[in-house]
């Protein structure tokens, strides 16, 4: 039993040199938080980066479940930044819309002021 476990570990070490990676629980938590936050500001899978983030997070959780911790960490790190970029893009887009709206109002106000005077 113990020997079998040793062989499994040794095989993993030999193949990837990464079996010593601990489970990336903290990174996964961070990534989930980043994905939730991006969703909260309105990022959907229509935003390419958001789709990447949710797909990679799902893959990272699966890898974590099958103890491929290194792969889980790499995917989770990428997904975190994908989500942060998606969030930033959505916020920028929203501010752009607000800007367009206030500019429309300013044009309208100028027009009205011209009419009254």
């Amino acid at each position: 039993m113990r020997i079998q476990a040793f062989i499994a570990v040794a095989a993993l070490l030999a193949l990837a040199g990464c079996a010593s990676d601990p489970a990336p629980s903290e990174q996964l938590r961070l990534t989930e938080q980043a994905v939730d936050q991006a969703r909260a500001v309105g990022a959907t899978d229509d935003v390419a980066e958001m789709k990447l983030a949710s797909d990679k997070l799902a893959a990272a959780l699966a890898a974590n479940g099958s103890q491929s911790y290194r792969q889980a960490r790499l995917l989770a790190e990428q997904a975190e930044l994908d989500a942060r970029l998606a969030e930033a893009k959505v916020l920028t887009e929203k501010s752009q819309q607000q800007l367009t709206q206030v500019n429309t109002r300013i044009v309208r106000l100028h027009k009205q002021l011209g009419e009254v005077q």
Binding site: R70, Q71, L74, L85, T92, S95, L109, E115
Partner: protein
């Protein structure tokens, strides 16, 4: 190439393919070069350095790591990983910068909007004073009535030219009253309903009624009423208040009605 390095490369490749099938497919050098170019671009941008310095630092740190690792064997995945992260941080820096710039612009434009709003209100007040009381009679069609839909204010045809959606200057007085009322009753919301007579086809009338209602709403917003308090609805030639047979009847039917909510902001259902 020596046998050992070839063997080493083979093992690394095996490790890559076997355990990490998701790294960038281009060679890591290309990814690093791309990340480096992106970083250089944001570093050259004074706005980015001012608005998102932390993102730039992170992009820079990740890139250094990728470059350092690139000189070792067996680090292909890590090189690609840090190059990817660096690239992302550069992109995030760019977005954050745009956001900051937009917000600054928004603050400036908002001040300008407020300034214009005040000027508009003042000039409308002036024009009302100039028109004096002679106009009073024109507003006989403007009356508030209690109906089953709640309190309703009718703005008659006198405020619009036939077939036009622009408010005539004679509407100023009533609009200002409405603004004053809404400012004194900040919880009340209104539904602005447009109606037309039955001249012309009904699709055109529906559009015209919507446009008229929207014009009233826009003017209220221009004078400082929060647009969240305003609903706009066009009914075309439906719900006439008089028979469309006479010119007088048609004039009565060309109107905008303002339906007020109760003091708590609860509005009756739309027709």
């Amino acid at each position: 190439m020596s046998l050992s390095s070839r063997l080493g490369g083979g093992l690394v490749a095996l490790g890559c393919v076997g355990l990490f099938g998701c790294a960038a497919h281009e060679s890591p050098q290309v990814t690093v070069q791309q990340a480096s170019a992106s970083l250089q671009k944001v570093k050259d941008d004074a706005d980015v350095l001012r608005s998102a310095p932390r993102d730039v630092i992170r992009a820079s740190e990740s890139l250094s790591r990728a470059e350092r690792l690139a000189s070792y064997w067996g680090t292909r995945d890590d090189v690609a990983q840090y190059a990817y992260l660096s690239q992302r941080y550069s992109e995030i820096a760019r977005e954050h910068t745009q956001l900051v710039l937009n917000k600054e612009k928004l603050a400036r434009q908002d001040l300008e909007r407020q300034r214009l709003q005040l000027a508009l209100r003042e000039s409308k007040l002036n024009s009302v004073q100039q028109q004096g009381k002679a106009l009073e009679e024109q507003f006989v069609s403007m009356a508030t009535t209690e109906t089953d839909r709640g309190l309703v204010l009718t703005l008659g045809d006198v405020l619009f030219d036939s077939g036009e959606a622009d408010l005539k200057p004679s509407a100023n007085r009533m609009i200002l009253k409405l603004v004053q009322f809404l400012q004194l009753n900040p919880k009340r919301v209104v539904r602005i309903e447009g109606y037309t007579d039955n001249t012309g086809d009904s699709e055109f009338n529906l559009e015209l009624s919507k446009d008229r209602a929207q014009t009233v709403a826009d003017t209220l917003v221009d004078l400082g009423i929060d647009e969240k308090r305003l609903q706009v609805q066009g009914y075309g030639d439906q719900y006439p208040v008089e028979a469309n047979a006479s010119e007088r009847g048609r004039a009565m039917n060309r109107r905008v009605e303002i339906v007020f909510s109760d003091e708590k902001g609860v509005l009756g259902a739309a027709r």
